[in-house]
């Protein structure tokens, strides 16, 4: 991966005539769950401003509430207190301005790949032919051209997750939410998809929030890494990543930064 080419692509991606992107704002957000009558605090007083087209990666041990945080932004859960704002407005549930990819691909097993992607366009009220045309374009974008009429069961894990990403991109949301999207994939497939997601984020820049427990993945993607503490989930540290896009995983800067983030977790166990 050559840095000069990457900078060019970055320039081209940003110089497109596109809407300016959308910000995400978390304002003193707290959330707890009731489990058998006991209150379990999951998130405490989280405040975070995510700039338009920023790629923010949230890392933390399991149980730190990072997935819950993403679900609050998606509008799938409600905050106990505090506010979640998209483009300055309080959210009221899920919206077409946000697309989400879950850890399990969650494709509907009775629909083909293109029907699954096309399903995301149903709320837009466009014709079926148009939905399928967009779906085919999205599948091509995630490298699944030729697999339009495959059922999810006929796809490998990586391919199914690509289709799920295609579905999240189908209505071109300004905000893309990724909940450990590569967590269930084997290491090589994960590397490949990481590169492709990085490409997508350059070619079609969106505000992206990705949740992961993979530190290398965080350093690979993030403009800023949000490190979280567990029980209750709080933001421990925010680490800016000033590396060019299309990062070289073996570069000295990359390795140093990965070590720095890793230290946040290793020191913890002393």
């Amino acid at each position: 991966m050559n840095v000069h080419i990457d900078e060019d692509r970055l320039m081209h991606g940003r110089s497109d005539v596109r809407p300016a992107g959308i910000s995400v704002q978390l304002d003193h957000v707290s959330k707890s769950f009731n489990i058998k009558g006991r209150t379990l605090p999951v998130l405490r007083d989280i405040s975070l401003n995510i700039a338009p087209r920023e790629f923010v990666v949230i890392v933390g041990a399991s149980g730190c509430g990072k997935s819950t945080l993403l679900r609050l932004i998606a509008g799938l859960d409600k905050t106990d207190s505090g506010e979640v704002k998209i483009d300055g407005r309080n959210i009221e549930g899920p919206g077409l301005d946000r697309g989400i990819v879950f850890q399990d691909h969650r494709l509907l097993p009775w629909l083909t790949a293109e029907q699954n992607v096309a399903a995301a366009l149903i709320p837009l009220g466009v014709s079926k032919a148009e939905r399928l045309a967009v779906a085919r374009r999205c599948l091509a974008q995630v490298g699944l051209a030729g697999f339009e009429s495959a059922l999810p069961a006929q796809l490998s894990g990586g391919m199914a997750q690509r289709a799920a990403i295609g579905r999240a991109l189908a209505n071109d949301p300004a905000v893309l939410l990724l909940d450990e999207p590569l967590g269930a994939l084997d290491a090589l497939t994960r590397l490949k998809l990481q590169n492709e997601i990085a490409d997508l984020s350059v070619n079609n820049p969106k505000t992206i929030v990705l949740v992961t427990h993979d530190i290398e993945e965080a350093v690979f993607f993030a403009d800023r890494i949000v490190v979280m503490d567990a029980s209750p989930g709080r933001i421990r540290k925010i680490i800016p990543v000033d590396l060019p896009r299309q990062r070289d995983r073996t570069g000295a800067d990359f390795v140093e930064l990965r070590r720095q983030v890793l230290r946040e977790f290793v020191d913890d166990s002393h």
Partner: protein, 255 residues
């Protein structure tokens, strides 16, 4: 898997044996004074009924009744099952009554149906519809309640409204169990049709055929009716399995 169970070659052995036993018994019984119509006499009556046309009209009437009654009952079951399978309030309000009323066997409703609708088509169709309604409603409700939480969440994440989520996600996800309900419903509708025709004797129908054959002590006619009922029921069951296998083809791919 269902289609295999219904496949012919090896399955033909038992009927052949039974027919042989029947034939031997019929001839043996003649000397004993017991009335069993031998196969040739039954076949002869069937041919005569086919030539006169009563065989076709009787079969046609029963099949038509089952079709109309089943469609009505299954549609109602699908809607009611969807209601109690998706709305907790509707479930709490109606479930106790539904399960209590369900305990009344179908034949228990026949006198009431006769009083309400007379012995004509209204009574028969409502009994058939009722028979199809229960299993479809029950399986639809259970199927919908058992749809994985992740699929419901996906519906919300994709901004689907209530109807779109029901039509595009919940119903297809519950389809395997709904089909179980539809198959049971069809079988019960068939049983209900024969029972209704036997007890509310008016017009044509296979139940009426049996009933009038019995009153004339014509065992051959009774046997023709029974064989036709069995054959039609079998064809319907096989047809339902075929349709199910086609609609649920996606389930096979993952195996």
């Amino acid at each position: 898997m269902g289609a295999r169970r219904l496949s012919l070659p090896r399955g033909i052995v038992l009927p052949v044996i039974l027919l042989a036993v029947w034939e031997i018994a019929a001839h043996a019984a003649k000397s004993g004074g017991v009335l069993i119509a031998p196969i040739e006499q039954v076949v002869g009556s069937a041919v005569a009924m086919a030539v006169s046309g009563t065989l076709w009209t009787d079969t046609g009437f029963t099949v038509a009744r089952v079709t109309v009654g089943f469609i009505g009952g299954a549609a109602g079951g699908l809607l009611f099952g969807s209601l109690i399978g998706t709305s907790r309030i509707a479930d709490r309000l109606t479930s106790p009554s539904f399960h209590a009323v369900r305990q009344v066997p179908l034949t228990g409703w026949i006198p009431l149906a006769a009083l309400l609708f007379g012995i004509g088509e209204g009574a028969k169709l409502s009994l058939i519809a009722l028979a199809a309604f229960y299993p479809v409603a029950l399986n639809t409700a259970e199927g919908l309640a058992g749809v994985p939480h992740g699929y419901r969440e996906l519906g919300r994440a994709l901004n689907f409204g209530g109807f779109t989520a029901w039509w595009r996600i919940l119903l297809p996800a519950a389809a395997p169990q709904i089909f179980t309900g539809l198959k049971h419903g069809l079988a019960f509708a068939w049983i209900a049709a024969i029972a209704a025709e036997l007890m509310l004797t008016s017009g044509s129908g296979l139940g009426t055929t049996i009933e009038s054959g019995a009153s004339l002590a014509r065992l051959d006619i009774v046997m023709v009716g029974i064989c036709l009922i069995g054959a039609c029921g079998y064809i319907m069951a096989v047809g339902a399995e075929r349709i199910e296998a086609r609609v649920l083809r996606w389930r096979e791919e993952g195996r």
